[in-house]
């Protein structure tokens, strides 16, 4: 039986890109005969995102108040859980992610080889946009802390292009960090002894909008994430099984 796949697209002030992103996915579905559903979580955008979503009949949820990336993505996981999806894919609304790679990152989950698959910019040397030097150094440091707190090497710790299994959809719908969700959830998932895979993907440079990790916040971001990873090291975790 085909597995139900949902792409969760968090959007905050993405009026320039969101329609493009949606149409790309729609066209891909038509051409490749895939059946990826989409849910856009409009995180209280102050621009025309809401109007664009409504006018073009894009499936979406308007959050009544801005919750930040973590709260928005978690809404997507709750939606996936309530609507009984088998696989949820986190997908950026800004044109950074390439829908052609969705196939690759959901494959290990369909084959039941992994519970969480991270679309990674750093696993293999493919010629692609790999973000600025400073950010790459930051990601390396976070990666080292990740190794220290979970014992596993994850190369692209901040990638927002990820797919997860039904069990993790439920886990995320119950609890999801509001700040720095990607590295923190990856570390927590590893501590809970789930199987995490990294798969090489290409990413594009942002077409428009502003990254949720702003330049002047980078150092603060890195320190907070490292601290959070240390906290995860001393915490105990248990898998929460579906009832």
């Amino acid at each position: 039986m085909a597995q139900k796949v949902l792409l969760i697209i968090p959007a905050y002030n993405e009026e320039e890109n969101i329609l493009n992103t949606y149409n790309t996915i729609k066209n891909y579905n038509k051409k490749q005969k895939t059946n990826y559903d989409v849910i856009v979580i409009n995180d209280g955008s102050k621009d025309n995102t809401k109007k664009i979503l409504e006018d073009n009949d894009i499936p979406h949820i308007n959050l009544l108040h801005n919750l930040g990336i973590g709260g928005a993505v978690q809404t997507g996981y709750k939606y996936a859980y309530y609507n009984n999806y088998d696989i949820a894919v986190q997908y950026d609304g800004d044109g950074q992610h390439d829908v052609r790679y969705v196939k690759n990152i959901i494959e290990p989950i369909i084959k039941d080889k992994a519970d969480l698959v991270i679309g990674s910019r750093f696993v293999e040397n493919i010629d692609t946009f790999k973000s600025t030097f400073a950010r790459r150094v930051g990601i390396k440091i976070i990666s080292a802390f990740m190794k220290f707190s979970t014992g596993k090497k994850i190369y692209d710790t901040t990638s927002g292009f990820r797919a997860c299994s039904k069990e993790l959809i439920y886990d995320f719908s119950l609890s999801y960090p509001s700040e720095y969700p990607e590295p923190i959830t990856t570390a927590e998932i590893l501590k809970k002894k789930y199987r995490v895979w990294e798969i090489p993907v290409e990413m594009n440079e942002r077409v428009g909008g502003v990254s949720s990790i702003r330049a002047w916040k980078n150092i603060y971001y890195m320190i907070s994430v490292c601290l959070a990873l240390l906290a995860i090291k001393i915490r105990r975790y248990k898998k929460c099984h579906r009832v």
Binding site: I61, N62, L63, L64, H65, G71, K78, S178
Partner: protein, 116 residues
């Protein structure tokens, strides 16, 4: 300890007790939290009434003057209080996030149904 510090402490303590009673009467803080503030004012009152006890204690603990001990106690209690507030805020944030998420999803569902 000087006479005037004694008076200041007693007056402050009475003021804090009256203030607590006032906001409690108006229903602005729950009874649970008013207790904390009564304990605070009681401590200040005790220092005012029994300065010798606190002078002895401050000597034992290595404070140069007794008033430093009083300040240290107050700052320490405030730090604990702030910690408690931080924990409470985090809890409140979790609850509002949950409410916003569930309500937004419900609203979307209702709007979708009504369009059919």
């Amino acid at each position: 300890m000087s006479q005037s510090l004694t008076i200041t402490l007693i007056v402050s303590s009475i003021f804090l007790m009256l203030l607590t009673t006032y906001v409690l009467k108006k229903g602005r803080i729950p009874e649970k939290y008013s207790l904390l503030w009564y304990v605070f004012s009681l401590i200040i009152l005790l220092v005012g009434l029994f300065p010798d006890l606190f002078t002895w204690l401050s000597n034992k603990l290595g404070f140069e003057v007794m008033s430093n001990l009083v300040i240290a106690i107050i700052i320490g209690s405030l730090l604990l209080l702030t910690m408690a507030l931080t924990i409470m805020i985090a809890g409140q944030k979790k609850k509002t996030t949950l409410l916003i998420q569930e309500l937004s999803m419900l609203k979307e569902k209702v709007e979708r149904e009504s369009r059919k």
